[in-house]
């Protein structure tokens, strides 16, 4: 850890940082080291072990050298032989070696978020001049919706948490664990001042007693960039920085909060919602990095923000494009832009027809016939495609469809946290049913996963399979 946790953090909440440190030091986490860390933190060994063993990025049986090569879509298309986790550099496949700062040349289209930051932190000053109540109204009135992928109105989330009383926690989610998405890294690397100012604005309005930034375990350069920018801002509460051991399920707020608390990173049942009782039982706001980056825009030029995007979802969205295209990278576009425009700008290089996987392994495919769909919150197609966190992988249809569908199904099965039965038992069976071409079983399991799973990972896992069968049934015949 680059900085110690604030002194009032409970002992158990040191568990993930200690495991992360040990994993970095030794390349793996031996059982006797888990027991020793547990002893230090006065946690039973079994409770530390279930945490250590839950993260895909922590090796608990032996050191793994070299790290498995990236096995996600763009890298596989570029010839990566690996089956490892996405390394979030789909813009330069095949990814290898440690991460670097996000390259400025990979910003293919910049908007207000990715444009160079004017110095001076005027937005924070404006917010302070307004006072907390009016600044809260400014955020709520702007119509800003959360950029983690669920698009919940940011102002409503803040109001709900503030209405619960104090103490209150703010958790900034920079875990970015969805394969094919690298926009948080772009923001932290290239415009850290804007992200830091956004965090300072959120901290001014919410006055959190606890402020956590949860960063992806591999994103060292992006995190260092953000931390140095944050040094120039007063955020009130000291900042606790957490690093993860990987895990798609950390996109679920309860799992993220459990991870910080030193518990097994599995979803929590709702209610209570995090805004009611979240981190350490406090009312908690969990916001994505890109949401933070939007906040200064609401104070610098609210009219421009309101003019961009669509009425129900103003602003821009940073898309992460990869796959069979000439110009991979990040594209910042107004929400509501047609998918076709973006794909054409990226320059598909395909033998058959271009197609996309939208929203990653929780989303779904769209064939070229459906490209005239606006990129907006909510379903983009009834079979699964959605904007989500803005990941778009361009594929060659039908050539890439089967392998991509199988990769998404295998990903969901391996990332299932194992807590609830439908997801744990259903995602591998969905993968098997797809491989066997058993369409009836895919549909049966799809319904169970969608309606019975505890969290979004299982609920949305059927999307790639359903959409592939809808657009290209012959591929699975």
């Amino acid at each position: 850890m680059s900085r110690p946790l604030p002194p009032d953090f409970p002992l158990r909440s040191h568990l993930l940082p200690r495991l992360f440190e040990e994993s970095r030091r030794a390349g793996w986490i031996a059982p006797e080291r888990v027991a020793a860390i547990a002893y230090d933190l006065r946690i039973p060994a079994a409770e530390a072990w279930e945490v250590a063993a839950a993260y895909a990025g922590f090796y608990t049986s032996s050191k793994l050298t070299p790290e498995p090569a990236c096995g996600w879509l763009a890298c596989r298309m570029a010839g990566s032989p690996g089956d490892g986790h996405c390394q979030f550099r789909c813009y330069a496949p095949p990814a290898s070696g440690p991460e670097d700062l996000f390259p400025a040349g990979m910003v293919r289209q910049a908007g207000p978020l990715l444009a160079a930051v004017p110095s001076g932190a005027h937005a924070l000053q404006s917010a302070r001049l307004m006072g907390r109540d009016r600044a809260l109204e400014q955020v709520a009135g702007s119509g800003l919706r959360g950029r983690g992928g669920a698009y919940f109105p940011t102002g409503s989330k803040w109001r709900s948490a503030l209405a619960e009383g104090r103490p209150l926690a703010l958790v900034v989610n920079a875990e970015e664990g969805e394969p094919g998405v690298f926009k948080d890294r772009a923001l932290m690397s290239l415009v850290p001042g804007r992200v830091a100012e956004g965090i300072a604005i959120a901290a001014f309005v919410l006055q959190p007693n606890v402020l956590v930034i949860f960063a992806n375990g591999h994103a060292d350069p992006a995190l260092a960039s953000l931390e140095s920018a944050l040094a120039g801002f007063d955020t009130g509460a000291p900042i606790a920085v957490y690093r993860g051991g990987g895990g798609y399920v950390l996109g679920e707020e309860g799992a993220l909060l459990n991870a910080i608390e030193g518990r097994r990173p599995v979803p929590r049942t709702r209610p209570p919602y995090p805004v009611q009782a979240g981190l350490f039982g406090m009312p908690t706001v969990v916001n994505n990095i890109e949401t933070m980056a939007n906040l200064p825009l609401l104070f610098d030029d609210p009219a421009a923000f309101a003019r961009t995007g669509i009425e129900t979802a103003p602003g821009t969205r940073i898309l992460s494009l990869s796959g069979r295209i000439e110009r991979p990278g990040v594209y910042e576009v107004p929400i509501g832009t047609l998918l076709r425009d973006v794909v054409e700008r990226a320059g598909p290089v395909v033998q058959g027809e271009p197609a996309v996987l939208m929203g990653g392994p929780s989303g779904g495919f769209l064939a070229a016939s459906a490209f005239d769909t606006p990129l907006a919150p909510g379903p983009m197609h009834p079979t699964g495609a959605m904007l989500g966190a803005g990941g778009i992988t361009v594929l060659d249809a039908p050539g890439d469809i089967r392998e991509t569908t199988m990769a998404a199904a295998a990903f969901n099965a391996s990332e299932s946290c194992g807590k609830c039965t439908p997801c744990r038992e259903g995602t591998p069976r969905l993968r098997d049913a797809l491989a066997a071409g058993d369409r009836a079983m895919v549909e049966e399991l799809g319904e169970i996963l969608e309606f019975a799973s505890l969290c979004g990972l299982g609920q949305m896992a059927p999307g790639p399979a359903r959409s592939a069968l809808h657009f290209w049934p012959e591929v699975f015949a």
Binding site: V34, W49, A54, A56, R264, T421, P422, E425, A452
Partner: protein, 200 residues
């Protein structure tokens, strides 16, 4: 609220209200002595048209709850079939005091065998003097670990691993006899299967 067509007073969670009304509903991970876990997903019902787990849904605020629509019964049965596929042997109830619960839920939904290939669940641990653990009957409901960690505050066992790799483990993966288990028996008392069974 209206529950399966009759007027009832909402009471605690939907599950509490349903059970108080005498309507049978499986709830394999919800133990009276333990807080909500929400892992087994077998208490699914329709609340105002949405499929929800009854255990974690407050009854207040729901105006109509249906426990046996075609859709929710089909999905619940599907979850139970996936649950059955975790167990390799025939349903048995020769374990602790709750060990009949899973077999009863499976029987009530007419499930004898799952159509799925069995999962690899060969781990067992007979190192404790008083009870043994057999993974091939375990449905990972989490009641035993909740009883050990949150009720008894011992923490001898946990659930380690993700996805199909998840299983009940003692300490840092060793046998029960090498852990801090005090043989209190709370895990065996909570188990809704024969995975944790008293020794003869």
């Amino acid at each position: 609220m209206r529950l399966d067509g009759r007027e009832v007073e909402p009471f605690g969670s939907l599950l509490d209200t349903i059970l108080a009304a005498g309507i049978p509903l499986p709830h394999l991970c919800k133990d009276d002595a333990l807080p909500v876990i929400g892992a087994c997903r077998t208490c699914l019902v329709e609340a105002d048209g949405r499929v929800v787990a009854a255990c974690s849904t407050p009854a207040t605020g729901v105006s109509e709850c249906l426990t046996h629509t075609g859709r929710v019964t089909r999905i619940r049965r599907g979850v139970l079939e996936l649950t059955r596929a975790m167990q390799s042997g025939p349903p048995s109830q020769t374990g602790g005091p709750c060990s009949a619960e899973t077999a009863a839920a499976l029987a009530a939904h007419g499930i004898e065998q799952a159509r799925y290939l069995p999962r690899n669940a060969a781990y067992s641990d007979s190192s404790n003097t008083f009870f043994s653990f057999h993974q091939d009957a375990c449905i990972l409901c989490g009641r035993c670990t909740a009883a050990c960690q949150d009720l008894q505050h011992i923490g001898a066992i946990g659930i380690a691993g993700r996805g199909l790799g998840a299983r009940i483990t003692a300490g840092t993966g060793g046998p029960l006899s090498a852990s801090i288990c005090t043989s209190c028996g709370s895990c065996v008392a909570a188990c809704p299967t024969t995975a944790l069974s008293p020794k003869e």
